[in-house]
Amino acid sequence: MVGGTCIKFGDSINTDVIIPARYLVSIDPQELAEHAFEPLGEEVQNRLRQSKVVVAGVNFGCGSAREQAASCLVGAGIQVVIAKSFARVFFRNSINTGLLAVECPDAVEHIGDGDSVFVDATEGTVTVGSDTFHFEPYPESLRKILDAGGLIPYVTQHVVAGRR
């Protein structure tokens, strides 16, 4: 179970808004987190850092293949992103950087900005107060990647270690 206070966004939040290209000079999640959502202003940035969950509408993370759009959220202390839908590359980058990305439109409709939200990835549930919403849990192959903490730790454990 992961979760806590959420920050809620609308539809079609793109990767240039999540992390502008000028900051891609870094791959350090903490450093990147300083510039996450910079186009939306300081207030949003401060709230992001105090949140554990990002909630969004449709097509969250559309645009660039930049992995930093996921890792900057990890750096900001975000544990899970719940959206009505994700852009493909953002969804992949989330799993691969160890960030839970959950598609659950009903939950998003119900969640208010600032609510406390909890996710159980094994059961496939989103809990908001006394309400519970369900989503399809990940296939086992993806769960293994998330359990390892992301794709790089996974390949290091399963491929590189085997060669030694």
Binding site: A21, V25, C62, R66, L142
Partner: protein, 423 residues
């Protein structure tokens, strides 16, 4: 039940009998491209504590964003890539002079029908122009695939887009795609493979096919695909690639599509994507007259040879409007060489354009950025807020013909006015 292109090509790359939409499988890509993100892959590899690569022949590295380097940090990153490529024997290494990764790899015959390619750039869908399955991934995915050879991939649903031709005069593949993106929205093709069919697509140049497949990404697509034909084979033959060196893959007649969309080309007019989303699309008549400060002809969507030739044909004998900056960035060194040889370079210069070195340039926010309140009409594929400088600037997207007409008038202009004059 019949199979789509995506189901067939992914089964082949996974080495399995058959694959079905929705399945998650391990796929061995034929080519793994990294561009400006290459240094991040190298650093990640160091963290993994290995330098054993699965197959160095499958790795391509192209220094296309931020080229040439403008900061010492970027220079150091590029230096790292050069040294890595040399020490590992990566022969598909292209330095800062080569141009945009997608275009360069296709021009040099590295992209072939039936291949699966991954790249650290979302517009890797462009490889579908040659009947290949290309898709954008993150730098960790590229690094992991360098080491293991495989990557987890979901077999996508497929959407069939039937484009009936011919188009009306003055409209192009760019207009087809902007209209489509506007109609079905920027997530209308999320995680799908977009197959392009229809009389317009058959016999279409590889360059226009590249524009179709490149912009499929802006529908959220995983792959794009144009069935290989004589045009494809001729393009490859010019690059020394013979038919026995690739395998053409076609969808079955009874393949299952999640959606079929028909576009009537004859009804199309030039289209414009308005700030700040690619699916905020209006016919040019609704936007004409909007003042611009800058026009950018560049990017992997529309800076190939015939894009530049089309723009130059309109610019010839005209001057760029006073106070407007026209920036032209050829997609590749090959394109630059061609436009120098046949005089198109001079046409641009005489009109008042400035030409920059091949690469991603202003599309990636590298040069040609805007101040607060400024407006650019760009031939690129994205108009997100802050992508070209100030968060308080605006980007409109259109075809090279629209860009040229707009540069001359200083306001967004329907290019048909220039075609009419010549007729």
């Amino acid at each position: 039940m019949g199979k789509t292109f995506a189901e067939k090509v992914m089964a082949k790359a996974a080495g399995i009998e058959q694959a079905t939409a929705g399945q998650v499988i391990n796929v061995y890509p034929d080519l793994i491209m990294s561009h400006a993100a290459s240094w991040r892959c190298i650093r990640t590899l160091e963290k993994m504590g290995t330098d054993e690569l699965y197959d160095v022949k499958r790795i391509a590295m192209v220094m296309d964003h931020n080229s040439p380097a403008r900061t010492a940090k970027t220079a150091a990153d590029q230096k790292l890539c050069r040294a890595f490529a040399k020490s590992k024997g990566i022969d598909k290494f292209y330095d800062v002079d080569a141009g945009i990764a997608h275009v360069v790899l296709m021009e040099d015959g590295h992209v072939r029908p039936g291949m699966v390619l991954i790249g650290t750039d979302s517009h890797s869908t462009i490889y579908g122009a040659l009947g290949a399955a290309g898709t954008g991934v993150g730098f960790s995915e590229v690094t992991a695939t360098w080491v293991s050879g495989y990557l987890w991939m979901k077999v996508p649903n497929s959407i069939k887009v039937v484009i009936n031709g011919p188009l009306s005069p003055g409209t192009t593949a760019k207009d087809v795609m902007l209209k489509l993106i506007g109609d079905v929205s920027a997530d209308g093709g999320t995680y799908c493979s977009i197959e392009f069919h229809g009389s317009y697509v058959r016999g279409l140049s590889v360059s226009e096919r590249m524009t179709l497949c490149n912009l499929a990404m802006e529908l959220g697509a995983k792959f794009a695909y144009v069935p290989p034909d004589e045009v494809t084979r001729a393009y490859l033959a010019e690059r020394g690639v013979q038919p026995h060196e690739y395998e053409e893959i076609y969808p079955d007649e009874d393949a299952v599509y999640s959606r079929v969309i028909t576009v009537e080309g004859a009804e199309l007019t030039p289209q414009i994507a308005c700030p700040h989303t690619v699916d905020h699309v209006l016919p040019i008549s609704a936007v004409a007259g909007q003042k611009v400060d800058q026009v950018f002809i560049g990017s992997c969507a529309n800076a190939k040879y015939d894009d530049l030739a089309q723009a130059a044909a309109i610019l010839k004998g005209h001057k760029v409007a006073p106070g407007v900056r026209l920036i032209v960035t050829p997609a590749s060194k090959h394109v630059l060489e061609r436009i120098v040889k046949d005089g198109i370079f001079s046409t641009f210069l005489e009109s008042g354009a400035m030409l920059t070195n091949p690469g991603c340039g202003a599309c990636a926010g590298d040069g040609g950025v805007m101040a607060d309140g400024e407006v650019t009409l760009s031939t690129a594929n994205r108009n997100f807020q802050g992508r070209m400088g100030s968060y308080h600037a605006q980007i409109y997207l259109g075809s090279p013909a629209v860009a040229a007409a707009t540069a001359i008038r200083g306001v967004i202009t329907d290019p048909s006015e220039f075609f009419a004059k010549e007729a």
